[in-house]
């Protein structure tokens, strides 16, 4: 190659907006999540460890917001979900997002979280192969929308992918799916920092199942699937999980899940995956609509 394009192509206004998006996502819990956690406090007996855990969580939410510091020290995987108009410069967006991630790390809104899987070397700025994770797609609107999720390792580790049929859970039907989901809740116990939220994909392949399960987490907590069958399953899973007695942090109690969001993807006839991404109570996701200059026009959650 006689020449390579290494010219930095960042857009300063975009970098500023994305840094602010990261700051807010890391430090302010979205209103729908705060509402659900506040409601769960009423479900726990006063004086129990569960009530204590929810009280500390409540204090932490207030403290993080007022001091503009990370809600959780594990600022997690940095996942961008972006929609852009046809003809938009995607490479410029990518460069700007990397700059914003580095800046947010320098400012302490993100922990240094990008580690070489073989050498163990920490890149120190959250940028490296595969990090941050950018999903950019076009749409037929004339503006850019950016959603961001910060997903910590504790909850990511308790995600799971099941294949049906499985004699422990059942066949390739909603009974098998439901039992697999409840097993995931059982195995997770308190290790995913509950009260948690399940993002679920029925079908797809091993990769798309996890991708869709994370996309489900972009839905509002109080919405319901447009598919009545899935909507009913979402409700049932939350009700049953909350009868498990696992409770906040696995301390025992009435609130194990505050949401379950289920989507589906077509599968090949030979495969039937049920894939779960578990999200902790520190459910950090936010989004913005940008104006033509790259400034923040509105917030999505």
């Amino acid at each position: 190659m006689s020449s390579t394009a290494t010219v930095a192509a960042t857009d300063p206004a975009l970098v500023t907006s994305l840094t602010e998006l990261i700051r807010v996502t890391s430090t302010v819990l979205p209103a729908d999540v705060v509402r659900a956690l506040t409601a769960s406090r009423a479900a726990e007996q006063p004086g129990t460890n569960a009530a204590y855990a929810l009280e500390v969580i409540g204090c932490n939410i207030d403290l993080a917001k007022s001091s503009s510091q990370p809600l959780c020290q594990d600022t997690g995987s940095v996942l961008f979900y972006v929609h852009v108009p046809v003809g938009y410069d995607q490479l410029r967006f990518e460069d700007s997002a990397l700059s914003a991630v580095k800046e947010a790390t320098r400012l302490g809104y993100l922990r240094q979280n990008s580690v070489d899987a073989v050498t163990g070397r920490n890149s120190g700025d959250n940028v490296g192969p595969g990090t941050p994770d950018l999903h950019i797609s076009q749409w037929h609107r004339d503006y850019v929308e950016v959603r961001l999720m910060l997903k910590g390792g504790g909850c990511e580790n308790v995600g799971a992918q099941y294949t049906l049929p499985d004699p422990r859970f059942g066949g390739r039907d909603l009974v098998g799916v439901e039992n697999a989901l409840l097993d995931c809740v059982l195995q997770a116990q308190g290790q995913g920092c509950g009260p948690g939220i399940l993002g679920v994909c029925i079908g797809g392949d091993r990769a798309s199942g996890y991708a869709e399960s994370k996309l489900q987490l972009l839905r509002l907590l109080d919405d319901q699937s447009g598919d009545p069958v899935l909507g009913e399953l979402e409700e049932r899973i939350v009700v049953k999980a909350n009868q498990s007695g696992i409770g906040p942090m696995g301390f025992g109690g009435a609130t194990t899940l505050i949401g379950c969001k289920i989507g589906k993807r077509n599968r090949v006839p030979a495969s039937f995956f049920v894939t779960i991404s578990y999200m902790c109570w520190a459910f950090r996701r936010q989004g913005v609509v940008l104006d033509q200059e790259g400034a923040i026009r509105s917030w999505l959650y």
Partner: protein, 190 residues
């Protein structure tokens, strides 16, 4: 359930008095140590600090260097079960009296707590600011080559809140909740 004040270093007697369900507030020096540090100790390296009577915190804090000083910007617990293969050895060999983390640990650690006199203290996962507020000073750091989250940070804490979920008498809240929830979910099976 009672509120107990613990100041490090702590004695075998103090540990033995703690029971599952007790709420504690920890003051004094504590050290962070997670996957990288445990792996290193397991491979035979000596811990960089004296762990006799000490409390080890499973935590990868957000640290920012301001001039010569380190500032802790967030420091909740990380999942402890990853240290289950190693923790018992550290308790046995270095006199650790307390482990702070989240999610609980397994039978090897529980047995070591009973045999050598140690206790598992559950902090509230995700509560990085409540925890950081009780960390009043960062006094130093070792093994920074592991990367900031994995390094051994020397923290000074005042009234750091936690709940005893595994005591030195063989009791584990985690084992109890796991057994009860397995039974409950078994009954709720579709």
């Amino acid at each position: 359930m009672s509120l107990v004040q613990l100041t490090t270093p702590i004695s075998d007697e103090q540990v033995r008095a703690l029971k599952v369900g007790d709420t504690v507030e920890i003051s004094g020096r504590i050290y962070t140590g997670r996957d990288g540090a445990h792996h290193r100790i397991h491979q035979g390296q000596k811990p960089p600090v004296d762990l006799q009577g000490a409390i080890l915190y499973h935590c990868g804090p957000v640290m920012v260097q301001v001039g010569e000083r380190w500032e802790c910007r967030g420091a909740g617990p990380t999942t402890s079960s990853r240290e289950e293969p190693y923790q018992w050895e550290v308790i046995r060999d270095y006199g650790l009296r307390g482990v702070i983390g989240k999610g609980g640990m397994g039978p090897k650690t529980l047995a070591a707590c009973q045999q050598y006199g140690c206790v598992y203290l559950h902090a509230i996962g995700g509560a990085a600011q409540v925890c950081a507020q009780r960390i009043t000073r960062v006094d130093g750091v070792d093994w920074m080559d592991l990367g900031s989250p994995e390094a051994v940070w020397h923290l000074w804490v005042e009234k750091f809140p936690a709940i005893v979920t595994m005591d030195s008498h063989g009791n584990s809240l985690h084992a109890q909740v796991r057994a009860a929830s397995a039974e409950a979910l078994g009954r709720l099976k579709a």
